[in-house]
Structure formats: C-alpha cells, structure tokens
C-alpha cells in the first residue's frame, strides 16, 4: 500500500485557502458518482467539513454523450462549517461536451475547467448539439481551461496490462480524480484502499484503476499544468470520531439503533423506489442484527406486511417515496385505526405522479399530514440534514412505540443522496426506550388506555389469555369490539386525535437560532436548513443589519407548543419551501399569521444567494 510520503512532492506553489466547490460531470456511464464520492471520502477523512450534491438522470444510461445522459456530483469542502454544496463551483471537471454544456453556467468566472480533450471530436459535439468546438473558439477564455487528453494518457498508462480499450477507457474518470487529488494536495491512499476492496476478485482491474489514478496525479506533477495547488486545512469540528454519512445510510443506521434501544426485532417491508431504495439495500445487509427485510410485491403489501409484523410484535417500518406513499394511504388509515406502532419514511422526490424521480422536492408535507380518508391524524417528523436523518428516525421509533401510533418521517432526495461528516455518537448518548408487550390477562382489554399517553396495550399473538380481535372497523373503546354507535365513533375520533396531539408533551419548545425576536423569522422544515443557515451566515459576514431568527421545525405534527407565541415576536415571517407553499398553509390556518412564502419547484435545493436576495427584499441591505 502506498503512503502519502511515497507520492511525489509537488514543486508548484501551494496556496492555503478556506474552501472550495468542485463538480465532476460526465456521461452517466463515466462513473461520476463514484469519482465524486471518492473525492468526498478522501477530503472528509482528512478532516474537512463537507456537503455533497449528487445529481443524476432518472435513466440508467441515456444514449452516451447526449445532454439527458449527463450525471454530476458536486462537493463543497472547507476548513470551516459547511451548510450547502455551494451555489457556484470553483472547479468543473467535464468529461465530454454534453457535460460542459450542461454545467458551464455554474462555474465561477476564472474558475478551473478541466476537460477530457479526447471526447471533443465532431461526433461528440454533434451529440451535445454543439455547432462549434468550444476548446477552439475562445468561448472559454474567461475560465482557466485545462484541456487534457485523459483518454489517450489513460490508455498509455494501462497498455502494458493487456486489457481491452473499453476496459482502459472505463478508468479515465480515475485519471481525472488523480488530477484533483494533486490540485488539492490530497493522498490517494483512501481511494487505493477502496479500489483494493472493490476489485478484490479482479486484481487486473484494480491495478488498472490505481495506475489511472497515479497517472492523473503524475501528469499534474510532471507537466506542471497547474501553476498552483491548494491546501484546505481540516475543519474545526466538535471533538469525536467522524464518518461521512448520507441521508439514506443514516435512516438505515437509525432504525437498527432504535430496534436495539427498544429491544425489538426490526422488520422492513418495502418495495424498490427511487430515491428510497438504498435504505432497503442497507438494511438487507444487517442480518447479523436480526433485521428482517421483506421486498414486497407492491407498495401496499410493503406497508400491510409491516402492519402485520407490528401486530406480531416487531419494530415495523416501511420506506418509500411519494408515489409509494400514495399507494400506502389506505393502509396508513388501518394503522391509525388499529393503533399499532409503525414508522413510514417518505424520501420525497419531484412530483406529481412519476414526476422527477431523481430530483428533490418538499411537496409531500400536506400528503403526510392529511392524505388519508376521514380523520386520521399521524405524527410527522422531518430531517434537516443527511446525518439528522439518524436522529429523526430514532425519535420517530420512540414516539411510535410510546404512543402506539404510526409515525411518518419525511426526508428527500437531496438528503438521501447527499453526505456530510457525522460525529458518531457513543451508545450511551442515545437513550434506551425498551418496549413492553402486554403479558397479564387480568383486566386486559385491547383498547384500555394509558392515562398519560392514551396508548393501548401491545398484546401480541402467542401470548396466552390475551386473544383479541382488531381491525379497520370502528371499535368500542376499551373492549375493541365492533361498534357503530354515533357517540362512540365521535369519542374514538377524538381519542385518536388527542393521542397524537398529546405527543406535544414529548416535543421541545421551538427556539429560533439567531435573534429571539425582531424583524424577520424564517420558518422552515426539512432539507432547506443548510441553505438558510448559509444565507444568514453570509449576511452576518457582510455585516448587514436586521434582527433575524431562523426556526427549523423537526416536528410538523404536532407542532411545538410555543410556536404561536414565537411567531408573534417578529415583524415578518418568511417560509421558504421547495413546493408551492405547504408549511405556510398550515401556519396561516393554525396561527392566523400573514406569513410570506418563498417557493422553488425546480427539483433542486435553494441556493444561498436566492435566499440572501429574498431576505434583502424583505428587510433591506
């Protein structure tokens, strides 16, 4: 194994900078997601704070070289706190003309542009619908262009291995990665380790990828292509052991943790759907934790099997995205009616219908809150960052078990695929919440309630003396017998509502970040947290005036008890959302506040700059 000391020492000037934003763009067959995640892993291991934004097409392989086939991976890394993947990029790696065309608008003036010169032939340009070669017509003069024969140089480096040209060309992404490692003075070791692990059964392919990586690095060293290389020191993060964590990984780890903390077997019923499938993939690996993963025949079977598993005593969960949520609707009502614990994760994506499967959106909030027939309240939580998904999932499980209710967790495509450093908690930092199945037949009634939580007992099949029947038909409180009496129905509707409303006793009061009162309160939820924080930090750094608070809601049902009072402390309320205005609808209805909406429905997160402009518009510069 190579070490940093063995890699060539750069003779170029080294400049220490605070942060950089880099984007790898290429054809979806070019391995851009792997390239980006390798770079991310390396800088995270070095100690930078990171935020990532993988952006790829819904098609597995659109025709090679075309505009719809472009896949990108953006990374913001820094020696200080990072909250977003960055608006504009400092470095763009474009592996073909289509990637250049689709991404150039986001490159800063004088930014570094690295292109694979070998893929700018006439045919490539035609596929990207370009009439002239931008490498030759001076249209790129405002950038620092590095036109590199990545394909030819990769082939040169690998030709002695005796593998075919196609296999050699598949390594050219690692040539580009090697260049970036040189540019930012990073060790190739973590990627060498990854290659050895990934291709342990294909040593020749492992060798090819390592050689391509080294060739890219050495190319920069030998040619002194770049006048300068950069150094971004480690970030000053809270002490502890860290790892890089994506939202979908965090959800999976959160569930395994919750099951252990509850002392229950974890059961996942799920049906593959973008962008939630990775949760199923992750959890299906954890059989040593006793995790049971059931890939059902459809979304309905995914949730109803989970309801069955919950009835049988497991910590039961189901994971999906918007279209799947729609299919689960009736079963959610069944879980409400039978008062069984269940956690449903909706990794939101652009909609309606199939919509934008790989793009992000926050438009399922009202569906989560109200999308069921009749009066069927469900607690709803939303995660705000990739690693927050872990904590939100643990909290959702705790609430589901304590109150015997289904709980919905909202994440989205941006959180699911984005990654950030996560300080790994020790196990005693996470409180246990042992679940208790009913055992005692004396005085047992299936709907006899705990006076504080209104939860009914969890009596599971196999327990002698507790035989009882539950189901979707209205039942008499206490006995659980079928009951159609008018007053009983009203009573039961009110009890189910009171039970969910009562979860508020478990929710901390809302405390805005920043000024506790003043000119403007930004109220938001979910994945917009990073962009809003960055915008407010940006404003503060510029020394702009105004008393501004930022309240990011984790609990969307019930809402924190003091929310109405907090809203009154500010002159203006701004609610930025990646939808047409859903939280604002709830706030206006519930608190009669004249809140102002800010809405973006483009399948992409807010840019820091967009928020700064809006804030300026509301309270001035």
């Amino acid at each position: 194994m190579s070490t940093l000391a063995e890699t060539p020492i750069s003779k170029a000037k080294r400049e220490v900078i605070e942060q950089a934003v880099i984007r790898f763009a290429g054809d979806s067959g070019d391995g851009m997601q792997i390239t980006g995640s390798q770079f991310t892993n390396t800088v995270a291991l070095y100690g930078n704070d990171i935020a990532t934004f993988p952006d790829y097409p819904a098609e597995i392989r659109a025709p090679a070289g075309t505009l719809p086939g472009v896949s990108g991976y953006q990374l913001h890394f820094s020696s200080s706190d990072v909250h977003t993947p960055g608006d504009l990029v400092d470095v763009l790696i474009a592996m073909n003309p289509a990637a250049l065309k689709m991404n150039l608008a986001d490159l800063k003036p004088n930014g570094i542009l690295i292109v694979n010169q070998d893929s700018f032939k006439e045919n490539d340009l035609r596929k990207a619908q370009m009439s002239a070669n931008p490498l030759e017509d001076h249209s790129l003069d405002k950038y620092r262009l590095f036109s590199v024969e990545a394909q030819r140089l990769t082939r040169n480096a690998l030709q002695h291995l005796g593998i075919d040209a196609k296999a050699m060309d598949r390594c050219k992404n690692f040539f580009a990665l090697g260049m970036c490692y040189w540019l930012y003075n990073r060790s190739m070791d973590p990627t060498f380790r990854w290659i050895d692990d990934k291709f342990s059964k294909k040593p020749l392919i492992a060798e090819a990828n390592k050689l391509a990586l080294k060739a890219g690095y050495s190319y920069c060293e030998a040619t002194e292509a770049f006048q300068v290389s950069y150094e971004i020191p480690p970030a000053r993060l809270e002490k502890g052991i860290y790892r890089s964590l994506s939202g979908n990984q965090a959800v999976a780890l959160g569930f395994v943790t919750a099951a252990q903390k509850a002392g229950l077997t974890l059961f996942l019923g799920s049906y593959p759907i973008t962008p939630a499938s990775d949760i199923l993939h992750e959890l299906s690996q954890y059989k040593d934790f006793g995790v049971l993963t059931f890939q059902a025949e459809d979304e309905i079977a995914a949730i109803t099997s989970s309801i069955g598993a919950s009835y049988a005593g497991a910590l039961a969960i189901t994971t999906t995205s918007g279209p799947g949520m729609a299919l689960k609707t009736e079963a959610l009502g069944l879980a409400v009616m039978t008062e069984l614990p269940l956690v449903i994760v909706d990794v939101q994506r652009g909609g309606p219908s199939t919509g934008l499967p790989t793009k992000t959106e926050q438009a399922d909030l009202l569906q989560a809150l109200f999308g069921r027939n009749s009066e069927a309240p469900i607690p709803v939580l939303a995660a705000s960052t990739p690693s927050d998904c872990f904590w939100v999932v643990v909290e959702a499980c705790r609430i589901a078990l304590k109150y015997m209710v289904p709980v919905i967790v909202l994440t989205d495509g941006y959180l699911a695929n984005g990654a950030e450093p996560w300080r790994i908690p020790t196990l005693d930092e996470i409180p246990a919440f042992p679940a208790a199945h009913a055992k005692n037949p004396e005085g047992f009634l299936p709907y006899k309630r705990d006076p504080q939580t209104l939860a009914r007992p969890w009596a599971i099949p196999g327990t002698p003396g507790l035989e009882h029947r539950i189901g979707g038909i209205e039942k008499q409180d206490g006995t659980g017998n079928v009951n159609y009496e008018p007053l009983n129905h009203e009573n039961m509707v009110r009890i189910r509502a009171a039970k969910v409303a009562g979860v508020v006793q478990d929710i901390p009061d809302a405390v805005p970040v920043g000024d506790p009162d003043g000119d403007l309160l930004i109220v938001a939820w979910g994945s917009t947290s990073g962009s809003i924080t960055a915008a407010l930090n940006g404003r503060r750094a510029k020394g702009l005036p105004g008393r501004i608070g930022h309240l990011h809601l984790r609990h969307l049902n019930p809402l924190p008890a003091n929310l109405g009072e907090v809203l009154k402390r500010y002159k203006k309320i701004l609610v930025p959302e990646l939808n047409m205005g859903q939280l604002i609808w709830v706030l206006r209805a519930k608190y009669l506040v004249d809140a102002i909406g800010m809405n973006k429905i483009q399948g992409r997160p807010f840019m820091q700059n967009e928020l700064e402009v809006k804030i300026e518009e509301l309270i001035g510069k």
């Binding site: 892993n41 995270a44 291991l45 070095y46 100690g47 973590p190 480690p234 002490k239 502890g240 052991i241 860290y242 790892r243 890089s244 780890l253 395994v256 943790t257 019923g269 059989k287 040593d288 934790f289 006793g290 995790v291 049971l292 059931f294 059902a296 025949e297 459809d298 309905i300 079977a301 109803t304 099997s305 989970s306 069955g308 598993a309 919950s310 009835y311 049988a312 005593g313 497991a314 039961a316 009736e330 079963a331 009502g333 069944l334 039978t338 300080r423 790994i424 908690p425 196990l427 099949p461 196999g462 002698p464 003396g465 035989e467 009882h468 029947r469 189901g471 979707g472 017998n481 079928v482």
Partner: protein, 342 residues
C-alpha cells in the same frame, strides 16, 4: 411442545361472545362451524392461532373466532399474514377471504403469498358474487351473469380459483363445499397438517344475492354425477353408480370413460396429490370447464417439500449470525472510513 401438556380445547373455546351477523342461511355459518370444530383437534394452543381477513362478508370471520384476529383492509390479508408469519413463524396463521377480496382487489397478494410458500392457510369463500356491497358480479361469476352491475350480462370471463392457485405453484391446493360438512372438516385438517402455503376454495352459497350459486353441483340428485371426490392413491371414479372415471390419453390429455366391458378401474388415473410438479393438478383443476367432465373437490395438490418463506428468511439471519457473530451496534455505527477530530 407435546400435545399431552396442552389443555383440552373444545369448539366452545373458539367461539366469541360476538353476535354473528351473517344473513340467516348464509353458507359462512357452516364454514365457521367446521373451522371451530377442527381447530380444537389440531393440538395447537389457542394463543398461537391468528385469523386474518380482508373485507367482505367472509372477512368478518375473525370476530367470531376466539383466537388472535386481524380484520384488515380489502384484499390485503395475505400481505398482513405474511408480515405476521415472518415476524413470528411459530404462529398458526389462517386467512379468511372471499372471491372479490382474494381474486379482484387482492389478487396480487394472493398469488405472491402462494408462490413464496408462506406458511399460511388461505380459506377462499367463493360465492361468485359481491355480497357486502349488495350484489355485483365477482371475478368468479359466470360469463354473461346478470347482476346489479351487469344488467345485460357480465362480459368478464371468470377465474378458476384452484387453477390460479396451482398456476402460482401453491404447494397445497384443495376445494370443498360449505354444505359438505365432513368433507370440509377433513380438507381443513389436511391443510392444517401442511407446512407451506395452503389454499382451499370453499364453494359457498349466498342465499340473498346469489342463491343457488352451486346447486347445479350440490343438489342431491346431481352431485355424484357432477362432482368427483379426489383421494390420494385412489382412482379417479365418479358417478351415481361409480361407473365413470378419468383416463389418461396417449397425448397426455384426459378423457371421461364409462367403466365396464374392457375398461376397469386399472385403466384410470390414480390420484397423486404429492406430485412435485403442478401440471397434473392443473389438468384436474381445469377439467370442469369441459363438457361431460366433473368438478373436482378434495386435495388437488399437497407437495410439502419446499421450505417455508418465513423459515428461509429467519434461517438467513441465523446463518449470518453464526458466521459473523451477533451484530455490534457501536462497530456498525463506526463502519467504513472514520477519522478523529481532537
């Protein structure tokens, strides 16, 4: 657990205090009576039984069984039962469903539970009509049948439930009739003894919306001519005078023959319910659609050599634990590349 440590259970132990609310004269009463008579004889503690249902008249079944019971939503009982079975393979899970519940809205769950060989027993009450919604045609209603929703006759061609179950390669497929009480109990016992998926179609009368649903088969004068009772190891004989049988043709097809003269029982097919392949059972299941052929009842297929789904799934967990040891949460959270901030 051995049976001699069990309390002796009776039919009464499986009756609930709930008033049974099927229409007087409904075939469901007979099915309830048969199930309540059979459960105490199975040597299984009462708390291990779970009866799961969907929606429809038949799906009220769990409320009348003093076991664990789950009256779920329309069509989803097989999926709920699958979740229960995976979470606790020790339970004895029975699904009560109807022709609309299992074959229309829940068709997908039915075939997938069967092809996975989940160890649940599916009792499909087939009255060829939607009863609870007051008389629309169902997926088993006859072609051209006039109902409330098909005043000019149904354009649908019906499913044959046992053919469908065999097509899904259910490892146990049987058919019985509400009014044949002893046959029904015997069939239920066969199903109870089967470890994998068991599917029983129970021909059932709806005396309100489809009275006489099966009388062409069940009326006393006709039944021995119209029905053939399958028994494993016995030749396929039927008829009032037991003078007809089913014989294999050289091309693999079958024909009805009259016994006598050159043709004896030795020429007939000897019923083999335990055949590992489903094609013979499918042939039997389909013969009722042909003129002159009888409708088979009894066990068409009972091949129990396939591991149950829930066992495969739980064994995978045990195998991984045996190989890797029980998972350590702290190490899991720290998996992959980590770094320390000091």
């Amino acid at each position: 657990m051995t049976t001699d440590t069990l309390p002796v259970l009776t039919k009464k132990d499986f009756q609930t205090d709930q008033e049974v609310r099927w229409c007087p004269g409904c075939g469901d009463y007979a099915i309830l009576a048969a199930v309540q008579a059979v459960f105490p004889e199975l040597g299984i503690p009462r708390e291990k039984f779970v009866v799961v249902s969907g929606i429809g008249c038949s799906s009220r079944f769990p409320y009348y069984m003093n076991t664990y019971g789950f009256h779920s939503i329309h069509g989803r009982a097989p999926a709920v039962a699958t979740g229960i079975k995976i979470a606790n393979p020790e339970l004895d899970v029975w699904v009560a469903t109807g022709d609309g519940d299992a074959l229309a809205i829940g068709g997908n769950h039915t075939i997938h539970a069967l092809r996975r060989n989940v160890g649940v027993k599916v009792l499909l009450f087939n009255n060829r009509i939607y009863g609870l919604t007051k008389g629309q045609y169902s997926p088993t209603s006859e072609f051209h049948k006039k109902t409330k929703s098909t005043p000019y006759g149904s354009p649908d061609r019906p499913f044959n439930p046992v053919s469908l179950a065999i097509g899904a390669e259910s490892t146990f497929v049987a058919r019985s009739v509400d009014v044949f009480q002893q046959h029904l109990k015997d069939t239920l016992k066969h199903a109870a003894a089967h470890k994998g998926s068991a599917f029983i179609e129970i021909l059932q009368n709806c005396n309100i919306f489809n009275d006489g649903a099966w009388t062409t088969l069940t009326e006393k004068d006709a039944r021995s001519e119209k029905i053939i009772q399958l028994e494993h190891g016995k030749p396929l004989v039927f008829g009032k005078n037991r003078d007809k049988g089913i014989r294999r043709l050289p091309d693999g097809d079958i024909e009805v023959v009259t016994l006598g003269g050159d043709i004896t029982e030795k020429d007939l097919i000897v019923h083999n319910a335990h055949h590992p392949r489903p094609s013979y059972a499918f042939l039997l299941s389909h013969m009722e659609h042909r003129p002159g052929f009888p409708t088979p009842i009894g066990v068409l297929r009972a091949w129990d050599d396939l591991p149950r789904y829930e066992d495969v799934m739980n064994e995978q967990v045990q195998e991984v634990i045996a190989k890797k040891g029980p998972g350590d949460l702290a190490s899991l959270l720290r998996s992959g590349d980590t770094w320390e901030v000091k």
